[in-house]
């Protein structure tokens, strides 16, 4: 009987142990010091050739964000549930990095609902949350580009009614060359690791820009 208890107890500890074990991703800033004028790495999202439109109605490509770290999230402006909180989470990351580094970072929203989110809507969204700095971008594309981009981010979404989408809440951090560095999932998720990496990347960005 005691043996069984012992086994159960150790099993519990092992399980607890694995749960609590943090996934320490080895983050070495030197890995990200890749010259900006060289060919893009194969896994870079900047390889995507799609055209997007920003909140000013201007045509942009993802590659335009090269040279600065990019924090990115997919939302849609008419969303009542998660998107206001995801927007707040983005704003929080922005506020938690040193003021001077904000100019050396891209903060990018990508619309899940490109048919509805016009530049007027996306401008309005940024205004509503007082995201006025030049580091803020809100992109809309075609339905095809949007689906393709979500595939790259591993963001899942489905239209569940004419006005609503069900979607995953993922904020992604990319390095200066568009390689995925870190992702956080969930609302009000712990953003400390993402911020720490962003600050490091921001420093390189500042030197280069």
């Amino acid at each position: 009987m005691k043996i069984i208890h012992f086994i159960l107890l150790s099993a519990t500890f092992i399980i607890l142990g694995t749960c609590q074990k943090k996934t320490e991703s080895a983050f070495n800033i030197n890995d990200y010091l890749i010259p900006q004028n060289e060919a893009l790495p194969e896994l870079s999202i900047f390889n995507l050739p799609a055209d997007w439109v920003n909140q000013h109605g201007k045509a942009v490509k993802l590659a335009d964000f090269r040279g600065k770290p990019t924090v990115m999230v997919m939302i849609y402006t008419s969303c009542q549930a998660a998107c206001p909180r995801l927007t707040a989470d983005m704003s929080l990351i922005n506020k938690q990095i040193p003021e001077k580094l904000r100019a050396y970072t891209n903060f990018v929203f990508v619309s899940i609902d490109p048919l509805v989110d016009t530049p007027e809507k996306t401008t309005e969204h940024l205004k509503k949350y007082q995201l006025n700095g030049k580091e803020w971008h809100f992109l809309t594309g075609t339905e095809e580009n949007t689906r393709q981009f979500s595939m790259i981010l591993g963001v899942k979404y489905k239209q569940i009614s004419p006005i609503d989408f069900s979607h995953s809440n993922t904020i992604s951090l990319f390095d200066l060359n568009g390689n995925l560095v870190h992702q956080i999932s969930g609302l009000n998720a712990d953003n400390q690791e993402l911020i720490a990496k962003l600050i490091e990347l921001g420093k390189i960005s500042k030197e280069l820009n």
Binding site: E42, L43, R147, Q148, M151, G154, K156, K158, N169, G186
Partner: protein, 255 residues
């Protein structure tokens, strides 16, 4: 000069071989899919679907025309290291491959690019499921236990992906091989919110979890569809999987 003409003719010919793959017309309708908007009918507009999955031979023709989709040149962003790995080289299948078997080891990105190259697209999950609920004689055979048993028995049969297309009998719509050979990519396969991180999803679909899931499903008989959704939920768009292929569709209004 004649050689040049021949080349042009050859190009035109190969293009049409790929583009003129026979399609079946699917009369649109409403149906209750397995999950999602619980008990709500989803409407599918009329469309055309390839009668068969895209084959190795057809995909070979595609990569010959579009070098960026060859095994040695494709970006890792778009396809993992298993992409076209059973082929002998970039542009040869090799003797051991059946050219009329469905193409597999292709990523979602590659499948989408192929579809675009022939003026088609990948089916939505709703479209695919709509067609796949038909048996030989019925548009909706999901309550037919024999139909379900035959699907599940395929799911248990290994290595069916090496067999030629049109192996099975056509269904009600004249579509072949939806079951029996390979699994197929759909345009929005990632709309299934069944992730390792479902906790991160705002409104994750609780009906999809095992046990409880079956009780909440619109159709209790449809265990086979659960397997499809679970499989698709585990995929990422750059994965190239040994038993996963695709076929294309076209909206009716475009053609």
């Amino acid at each position: 000069m004649s050689r040049f003409l021949l080349l042009i003719l050859l190009l035109v010919f190969t293009q049409t071989v790929r583009a003129q793959k026979p399609m079946a017309r699917i009369e649109g309708g409403a149906f209750a899919p397995l999950f999602g908007t619980t008990n709500q009918l989803v409407t599918v507009a009329s469309f055309f679907m390839d009668e068969t999955p895209v084959t190795h031979a057809e995909f070979l023709d595609f990569v010959k025309t579009y070098p960026e989709w060859r095994r040695s040149t494709v970006l890792r962003l778009f396809a993992d290291q298993n992409y076209l790995k059973t082929w002998e080289s970039d542009t040869t299948l090799g003797k051991n491959l059946n050219p009329n078997a469905p193409i597999t080891n292709v990523s979602w990105f590659a499948a989408s690019a192929y579809a675009k190259s022939v003026g088609k697209r990948l089916p939505t999950t709703d479209e695919w499921e709509f067609v796949a609920m038909a048996s030989r004689d019925n548009k909706d055979a999901r309550k037919d236990s024999l139909f379900n048993v035959s699907i599940l028995s395929w799911y248990e049969t290994p290595n069916t992906f090496t067999q030629s297309i049109r192996r099975t009998e056509p269904n009600f719509w004249g579509v072949f091989d939806l079951y029996g050979l390979v699994w197929e990519w759909t345009e929005d396969f990632n709309s299934v919110l069944l992730t390792g991180e479902s906790r991160g999803d705002v409104d994750s679909n609780n009906t999809l979890f095992c046990g409880g899931g079956a009780v909440g499903a619109s159709d209790l008989m449809n265990y086979a569809a659960f397997m499809r959704f679970a499989f698709k939920g585990s995929l990422k768009a750059h994965f190239a999987v040994q038993n996963l292929g695709f076929r294309c569709v076209k909206s009716e209004k475009e053609s």
